[in-house]
């Protein structure tokens, strides 16, 4: 089809432009003047335009169900609703790579346009490094994952999109996540450029800080959307499973958050330059490694994309080249002078940010090692082990306690040097109050541990501190909102864990089971025929102690293309708790397996993460000190 041709040739042209920009930037580096040639802007824009065009060609092919396009054939179906035809564009390997390219080219163009106050050579070098990444992706796309490969003869019907992916939250999850994930490419490229140009100074820190925040906000929201989708759609009542694909998005986030904090130190005191660059390289490296792990077939997970070793090899080599390049550049251009010899006083904000980084890197290493260890073990001794949630909880949660306390105290300490006498009485009071509340809560639920008490106390301590900080005039609003949001996040998760109740049983229509001083009644089922599936909707009544009745309608969908059963949970979210019910069909039996959960504070988990991201957003708006 015409769209396929157009899309395909746009990509080829884009690649040529990429090579052109690579040589251009090299040539213009030698120019004396400090003004970027207008050519560079136009070519960069043209490249962006071509990728956008290519992207829209793919979207168009999906909308008109052009099955001569292999990607459309594999991932779509004529009976799919149009919204999901469109979102199906990026719900597959090739399309999502095109999305990668889109963000890569968009961000470099925006970078060029918004960095006019930076030295020209630095900007050109950033362009150079970014184009290396971009051309790598063009090659990857064109040679191993072409979204426009032709099928002949043209099939009459497609193989359908996985019905689990037909969900509104999931439709926007990749674009938002990629803006964060792929956005870190600019940070990578510009950090390398700044290193080469010996340009790492306050001016640069201020400028790069904006990009770090943009990437971080989108990454936070993107991960949150993924968790929301998992919770509302996948039907097991959880939202984070420490699945390798989930871990792979969390790792760059940890790195980026550490970078976010370090860049403020760089801006204020002009130290930790090398560490900043290392973090920038690490963030993007983790993003790319994530892409590798998820698409190469190495991992065994519900989420994985294509399972093709050939693609895996390409990304692996690409990744290797990028990392080698970064290490070599670091080796050659990092000098003792890059790092100023300023001392850090032990009781200062710099130290508390160092401590933050210390903990973040620890969390990162736990997740990284947990995710990759089984892979390496299998190669070395041919045995498979599982590293699941228990591992992560055991290694991460204990460290959360000191982390929360440092997070509460750190922002209060002054730059450069502060007095230890600063620990005022009210801090001790807050600490005691936190412990008391935590103790009362744990006691009431007769949950076993001393450990939980300390953990909740830590979270409350952060909570009260940040709450109090809102009232103080000279504290930073954006930082406070984010830290406050984080404290609520931890509290929500803890309370959710402690106060959740669930029951699982096999029920026939008309059955009733007692649960937690209430009743669950299976009232009836209704069967409907929809556009591309058959639906069985059940009606359950949940009666609580006060005789209030909530009706829940879980659904089982029987899709025709591909033939899959899915269970859609019904979740009634209220301010304080979620009522969650999911049922599944037991083959060759006449009853359903029903699972009901009462999950307090779920909504607060999402609200609190939004707070955290919102704090970052405020950073752009604030003019008031």
């Amino acid at each position: 089809m015409l769209a396929s041709q157009l899309g395909h040739y746009s990509l080829i042209l884009g690649l040529i432009l990429s090579l052109g920009l690579l040589s251009y930037s090299f040539i213009y580096l030698r120019d004396g003047n400090n003004i970027l040639q207008k050519n560079i802007y136009s070519i960069s824009f043209l490249q962006l335009f071509l990728v956008v065009l290519s992207f829209f060609c793919l979207v168009y092919s999906f909308i008109i169900s052009d099955f001569s396009n292999e990607t459309v054939y594999n991932n779509s179906h004529t009976t799919k609703p149009i919204f999901y035809k469109i979102s199906g564009t990026w719900g597959n390997h090739e399309g999502s790579l095109l999305l990668w390219l889109l963000v890569l080219t968009l961000f470099i163009f925006l970078f060029l346009v918004s960095s006019k106050n930076q030295p020209k050579k630095y900007r050109l070098l950033t362009l150079f490094f970014q184009q290396i990444i971009i051309s790598g992706f063009f090659l990857f796309l064109l040679f191993t994952s072409n979204p426009f490969s032709n099928l002949f003869p043209v099939p009459k019907e497609g193989l359908g999109l996985n019905p689990i992916l037909q969900d509104p939250a999931l439709a926007i999850h990749p674009p938002i996540l990629y803006l964060g994930y792929v956005g870190s490419s600019i940070i990578f490229s510009s950090s390398l450029a700044a290193l080469v140009q010996k340009n790492i100074n306050r001016n640069w820190a201020k400028h790069i800080k904006k990009w770090i925040f943009v990437s971080w906000i989108f990454l936070t929201l993107g991960i949150m959307l993924g968790a929301i989708w998992a919770y509302y759609e996948l039907g097991w009542g959880g939202f984070w499973f420490w699945d390798p694909v989930e871990n792979v998005s969390l790792m760059p986030w940890l790195c980026l958050t550490a970078l976010l904090h370090t860049i403020t130190v760089l801006e204020k005191r002009l130290i930790l330059k090398s560490w900043t660059i290392i973090l920038s390289i690490a963030t993007f490296t983790l993003s790319m490694s994530g892409t590798f792990l998820v698409r190469s077939g190495i991992l065994n997970s519900v989420h994985t994309f294509a399972n093709d070793p050939k693609r895996g090899i390409f990304i692996l080599i690409f990744l290797f080249v990028l990392i080698l390049l970064s290490v070599l550049i670091f080796f050659f251009y990092q000098t003792k002078e890059t790092d100023s010899q300023k001392k850090i006083f032990w009781f200062s904000k710099e130290t508390s940010i160092l401590i933050n980084n210390w903990f973040m890197m620890y969390f990162l290493s736990v997740i990284l090692i947990g995710t990759t260890y089984p892979i390496f073990l299998e190669v070395l001794i041919e045995e498979k082990i599982s590293v699941g949630p228990p591992f992560y909880y055991k290694l991460l949660v204990p460290f959360l306690i000191p982390f929360l306390i440092f997070m509460a105290i750190g922002p209060k300490i002054k730059w450069i040097k502060d007095k230890f006498k600063k620990i005022k009485i009210y801090q001790i009071i807050l600490l005691v109050i936190s412990f008391l509340i935590a103790y009362l809560i744990i006691n009431k639920t007769s949950s076993q541990y001393l450990f939980s008490t300390v953990l909740i106390a830590g979270a409350f301590y952060l909570f009260f501190n940040t709450l109090r900080d809102f009232l103080r005039k000279n504290s930073k609003l954006s930082q406070n909102i984010s830290h406050f949001g984080f404290s609520i996040f931890i509290l929500s998760i803890l309370f959710n864990g402690i106060f959740s109740n669930e029951i699982s049983a096999n029920m026939k229509i008309g059955d009733e089971i007692k649960f937690n001083k209430g009743l669950i009644k299976f009232k009836k089922i209704e069967i409907y025929k929809e556009q591309n599936y058959e639906s069985i909707i059940a009606s359950f009544e949940i009666e609580d102690e006060e005789k209030n009745i909530t009706t829940l309608n879980p659904e089982i969908r029987i899709y025709n293309q591909p033939a899959i059963f899915t269970s859609e949970a019904d979740i009634k979210s209220s301010f304080f708790t979620d009522k969650f019910l999911v049922m599944s069909l037991l083959k060759r039996e006449d009853y359903f397996n029903v699972r009901y959960q009462n999950k307090p504070f779920m909504l607060w988990i999402w609200i609190s993460i939004s707070f955290v991201a919102f704090g970052g957003l405020i950073n752009f708006v604030k003019k008031i000190k």
Partner: protein, 174 residues
């Protein structure tokens, strides 16, 4: 000098990590358990499909023949495909073929046997699937080869193929 050493070590570590990742690309991704190879067969007892007599597995395992347990069901389509191979195996005097009927209705299972032939010397039933799990199976059809010393020596997951048949015959004849 110290700087050089650090960098060289880093690059060396990176190369090792990449080699490991590269090698892992070619490993099979789905996990197939093979823990029970060379371990003794777990004893189980169940009703015979036809006679409904409670039978213990140890009574069925002979010590001068190879025992092959085949886990099947009437509703399992690949089981139908491998049925001719089972009929062929049943003619081998060195093999004692036992069937384990998995999560099936007796009527359907009997009908299956009547329609397609009975390759089994005995058929026991596993109505809730727990016996299969005790045998280390997880899907059907599965075929377990047990030697004269009552040790599990091989498992085939999925319907038997010509290749599997030749393998079995090799084992049995050795």
């Amino acid at each position: 000098m110290k700087k050089n050493i650090i960098y060289l070590t880093i690059i060396f570590i990176i190369i090792i990590i990449f080699t490991l990742f590269y090698k892992s690309l070619y490993k099979a991704k789905t996990y197939i358990p093979n823990e029970l190879n060379n371990k003794n067969l777990v004893q189980f007892s169940s009703k015979d499909l036809f006679s409904e007599v409670e039978t213990n597995s140890s009574d069925l395992i002979s010590n001068n023949k190879f025992t092959i347990i085949n886990i099947w069901a009437s509703w399992c389509i690949p089981c139908r495909k491998e049925h001719p191979f089972l009929m062929h195996l049943s003619k081998n005097s060195k093999i004692n073929l036992i069937g384990l009927n998995y999560k099936d209705r007796s009527n359907n299972a009997k009908k299956f046997i009547n329609d397609f032939g009975n390759p089994f010397s005995t058929i026991l039933i596993d109505p809730d699937g727990t016996i299969s799990i005790e045998l280390g199976a997880y899907g059907i059809p599965e075929t377990i080869i047990i030697n004269k010393d009552q040790k599990i020596i091989k498992k085939f997951i999925g319907p038997l193929t010509n290749k599997n048949l030749r393998e079995i015959e090799q084992i049995v004849n050795s």
